[in-house]
């Protein structure tokens, strides 16, 4: 048996629904149809009355989830695409994210954001919104890069008493497979060293992890041993693990698929530079998408986002600094 990233997300939701009567799912087409991406396939049948189709009303979808959370439920909300969360934005950043701080009442809402670029999806079905949500206090932002993490982190997202922005990468849905679902998991908030190395640290997350690993492999024959750190969650960031890795390698390259201004890569570099300055043997570098909307055409798309090739090139440059 093998299981995809998408199936892991479905399984985690099934598990959460099974384990906890407070869990329900709400979003467009998540019911009998099983969701635009099929992440809730069969769940409406398996859990009657607990997987509800919503109107096309992202603001009200999130608002309802917050109300249900106040009342002790644990809603999972699906945005059809992360890009559409811009119209539910206010309820996420001002209602959900401030509730605990204002009232001491926790807000266990999970907002699933199918996000990130895939070929041919264009400017409005490809966006990376982790930066925007991570900037707001009161939210936890998860960015699983593996089948196992997709499963265990989604379960943890539902279990956590705070609003979680669960960024699931559409490119990984069918692309990634695992042998089985994990029974144990690293807790959220801990980064993972996916590949050990000596010469350089690449810090990344989500789909870019796989590009980074490919780049690291490319560099092996040249004699370079590149360490690759998967952040897993971008808020909080596991600064300790990043710092420990940089301490070993002395070189840092941050890779993200989001736009370049002020994202995860800037935040990592700011932390390492200000807190771990002495660890660096060379200037920290970063690689992001280009500063334009995400293009439709596969040619443009492949040039817009960082790829293994671009990462390899950036890494080579950094290794020579």
């Amino acid at each position: 048996m093998s299981i995809t990233y998408l199936e892991a997300i479905r399984e985690a939701q099934a598990q959460a629904l099974r384990d906890d009567p407070r869990v329900f799912i709400y979003g467009q087409d998540v019911g009998p149809f099983g969701g635009a991406h099929k992440a809730t396939k069969n769940l409406a049948k398996e859990f009657p009355g607990r997987v509800l189709d919503s109107p096309i009303s992202e603001d009200a979808i999130v608002g309802l989830a917050v109300g249900a959370a106040i009342e002790g439920m644990r809603p999972i909300v699906e945005m059809q695409f992360a890009d559409f969360s811009t119209v539910g934005f206010n309820q996420i950043v001002n209602q959900a994210a401030t509730l605990f701080w204002r009232t001491n009442v926790p807000c266990p809402v999970t907002v699933r954001l199918p996000f990130g670029g895939t070929s041919g999806s264009g400017p409005f079905h490809s966006q990376c919104m982790e930066t925007v949500y991570a900037h707001y206090p009161g939210l936890i932002v998860m960015t699983p890069a593996t089948v196992e993490d997709a499963y265990s982190m989604l379960l943890e997202a539902v279990a956590i008493d705070d609003p979680v922005i669960f960024c699931e990468h559409k490119f990984l849905y069918y692309h990634l497979k695992a042998e089985k679902l994990p029974s144990e998991a690293l807790p959220v908030g801990k980064a993972r060293i996916v590949r050990e190395g000596r010469d350089m640290t690449i810090v990344t997350y989500s789909a870019m992890l796989h590009e980074a690993l490919e780049a690291a492999n490319e560099l092996t024959p040249e004699g370079w041993e590149v360490e690759v750190v998967d952040l897993r969650s971008v808020k909080p960031i596991d600064t300790d693990t990043v710092m420990a890795s940089v301490a070993r390698t002395g070189r840092l390259l941050c890779v993200g698929e989001a736009w370049p201004w002020g994202g995860v890569t800037a935040e990592i570099i700011a932390r390492v530079s200000s807190e771990g300055y002495g660890l660096l043997d060379a200037p920290p570098q970063r690689l992001n998408a280009k500063d334009t909307p995400v293009p439709y055409h596969p040619n443009l798309w492949a040039a817009h986002r960082p790829t293994a090739r671009a990462i390899t090139a950036a890494a080579r440059k950094l290794l020579r600094l």
Binding site: F24, R50, S54, P55, S57, E58, D59, A60, I61, V62, G63, L64, A65, V66, G67, A68, A69, I70, E71, G72, M73, P75, V87, N90, Q91, N94, Q95, A97, T98, L99, F100, W101, R102, T103, N104, V105, P106, P137, G138, L139, I140, I160, D161, D162, V188, G189, K235, P236, I237
Partner: protein, 342 residues
């Protein structure tokens, strides 16, 4: 919070209605005096930020609060001092929030009208207009999940806020889910300075109801009698499972948008017209006409209310404000995931 009785046919019902009316009136009175006190404190520089009064809207607001039962849900807005008190808020908590006491429900983190106790069904508004309605929907849906039938959720909204996308999405959502939501629309003719002619083009806000498939009723918002009856019936219909109810009150804001605003833009003709009546005065005249109270009794009630307010303010003024050094600077409840960096 008292059960409203709507058709005072029998003597018992009549007595109950009288009791409700008197209770509602006293909440109106308390709210008016409390608002006046906040305004005075603001003028003397004792309140930071804005002060927002419900002057002229106390009848509607009190009727809303009093029509709800314990266990119901209420999402008030800025003009709901009366409804908040009627729903169970204490003068102390209101004062604590305005004065930023560390002991208030918001602990000084939020202030003025941004107060509530979510676990008691009393929702603290965020400022973004329209945003609370879908939150009420969520609570009502959760109650349904938990088989707690018979709960009603009321949300206040102004003429201006009917233009928000949030209002639209939430009312439609409630209708689709057939939730026991009572949406209390206060058409006070202005949104801040903006007259309703620049806000909507329908004949009457009640015309919106059919577009959502919800029931609607309208009333004179200056008349406590009408408010108690109309809101009370809407609450009963919602509780009986007839789905969302909209009630539209016509009235006028008898104050500035906030205390910083002299409201010079309000049409003098409107002020002179019946919508410009002071609901407080209308209710007092009714009390006297009905012989439910005489002027001396009204004066006593007023004195009692003033006393209660002064006592609360005096107490709160002795309470400490929040301490930034002991303050836990943490926006999430999961301690181990807090970053806390600056």
């Amino acid at each position: 919070m008292l059960q409203t009785v709507l058709e005072p046919q029998t003597a018992e019902k009549a007595a109950l209605f009288r009791e409700t009316y008197l209770a509602a009136y006293r909440f109106m009175l308390l709210a008016r005096l409390l608002d006046d006190k906040f305004a005075a404190l603001w003028r003397s520089g004792r309140i930071h930020g804005g002060v927002f009064l419900g002057r002229g809207q106390e009848a509607l607001s009190a009727a809303t609060g009093i029509s709800l039962k314990k266990g119901d849900v209420f999402a008030p807005l800025i003009r709901d001092a009366a409804g908040r008190l009627a729903f169970g808020e204490t003068v102390l908590d209101a004062a604590r929030t305005y004065l930023g006491s560390a002991r208030g429900p918001m602990g000084g983190r939020d202030g003025n009208v941004h107060r509530g106790k979510p676990k008691e069904g009393y929702l603290p508004m965020i400022s973004h207009l329209g945003a609370m309605i879908s939150v009420v929907n969520g609570i009502l849906l959760a109650r349904r999940f938990k088989n707690h039938a018979g709960t009603v959720g009321a949300a206040s909204i102004g003429d201006g806020a009917t233009s928000t996308g949030a209002f639209h999405e939430a009312l439609n959502q409630a209708a689709v889910e057939k939730l026991p939501l009572v949406l209390v629309v206060a058409n006070n003719h202005y949104a801040y300075s903006t007259p309703i002619s620049r806000q909507f083009a329908c004949r009457d806000l009640a015309d919106k109801a059919a577009g959502y498939g919800v029931e609607v009723d309208s009333m004179d918002g200056t008349d406590l009698n009408a408010c108690l009856e109309t809101v009370g019936q809407a609450v009963d219909r919602a509780r009986a499972g007839r789905g969302p109810q909209m009630v539209v009150a016509t009235l006028l804001r008898l104050c500035g948008h906030g205390e910083h605003d002299d409201a010079g833009y309000i049409d003098p003709e409107l002020k002179k017209s019946p919508v410009g009546r002071d609901c407080q005065k209308v209710a007092e005249d009714y009390l006297i006409r009905q012989k439910w109270a005489d002027p001396a009794t009204l004066a006593t009630w007023r004195t009692e209310a003033v006393h209660k307010i002064e006592e609360a303010i005096a107490q709160v003024q002795r309470e400490p404000g929040p301490d930034p050094f002991t303050e836990e600077w943490r926006a999430i409840s999961t301690q181990r995931l807090n970053e806390g960096h600056e």
